[in-house]
């Protein structure tokens, strides 16, 4: 029975680790997307400001 427990634990633990890495990456990407959107909006605003001044 011991071998069985080791084998199944190994398989499931690997999937869990994969999922955890997935979640970490997802978190990073979400934050990156937010900051990129913010950058883009700021850039857009600065440009329209310039255009109005001109």
């Amino acid at each position: 029975m011991f071998a069985f427990i080791v084998a199944d634990t190994l398989v499931i633990a690997t999937f869990v680790v994969y999922f955890a890495r997935w979640a970490a990456e997802q978190h990073r990407l979400t934050r990156q997307a937010e900051s990129l959107q913010e950058h883009l909006a700021r850039h857009e605003a600065a440009r329209s400001e310039l255009r109005r001044a001109a």
């Binding site: 029975m1 071998a3 069985f4 080791v6 084998a7 199944d8 190994l10 398989v11 499931i12 690997t14 999937f15 994969y18 999922f19 997935w22 990456e25 997802q26 990407l29 990156q32 997307a33 990129l36 959107q37 950058h39 883009l40 850039h43 440009r47």
Partner: protein, 228 residues
């Protein structure tokens, strides 16, 4: 959380529940094998991951052809996620097989056909992922991956044949109790469901990453424009 996300989460949870049932069946429901005893229970998970290792190749080959025909990076996201999970499952095949071999044959490793074949399979996965990891341009990565994926899939049956004729020791398909067959089937299906769910989630994530990259690229382009 949108409806779609909820649906995805529900799929994931049911896949996990399914796997739990499968493991429980393998541990408690399936009868103990007479000659080998409890060690034989390793087989349920081993066969499942071995099957998934092959599935990974099939997905890679199909999405590789898809990319080469359409040059759409969507296919490459399938390719990458199938490659990663295929690499993991074929690695697990080696690990669980090794555990089984240690108990049943008294050795961790034997240059036996199926073992050799899955080792070669794992090496091909390693090589493809390594090469792809060293490339920066997404289209170049997709093109190299596509060609290698098709080559690997074309090679697979030949590897199997060659190693099988070479020497034989691995049990092919022994007589089994019907309950054992059911347990095996449930295990294969459950792990396949988990695998499919992980692949689709990972693919979605890769697409997300690409849209971030596109955004970053437009941002870089705009900045270059306004500075000059």
């Amino acid at each position: 959380m949108s409806l779609r996300n909820r649906l995805h989460a529900a799929c994931g949870l049911s896949a996990i529940a399914f796997v739990a049932v499968a493991v429980w069946m393998a541990a408690c429901i399936a009868p103990t094998e007479q000659s080998m005893g409890d060690i034989q229970r390793v087989l349920y998970v081993h066969v499942s991951v071995a099957w998934l290792g092959l599935c990974g190749f099939a997905v890679m080959a199909v999405s590789g052809v898809g990319y080469l025909l359409t040059r759409n990076l969507r296919f490459d996201h399938w390719f990458q996620s199938a490659g990663e999970l295929g690499w993991i499952t074929s690695g697990l095949t080696l690990a669980t097989g090794s555990i089984w071999a240690h108990e049943a044959w008294g050795t961790w490793w034997e240059w036996e056909p199926r073992l050799t074949a899955s080792f070669v399979l794992w090496l091909i996965y390693c090589a493809i992922l390594l090469v792809r990891g060293s490339l920066d341009d997404p289209h170049q990565r997709a093109r190299i991956g596509g060609v290698l994926g098709v080559m690997g899939a074309a090679d697979l049956p030949l590897v199997m044949m060659a190693t099988r004729w070479f020497r034989g020791m691995h049990p092919v398909s022994p007589q089994m109790d019907p309950l054992m067959r059911w347990t095996l089937l449930v295990n294969v299906l459950a792990f396949t469901a988990l695998f499919a769910w992980l692949i689709t989630e990972r693919r979605k994530q890769l697409r997300f990453r690409q849209s971030n990259d596109d955004l970053q690229r437009t941002l870089i382009g705009r900045m270059k424009c306004s500075h000059s």
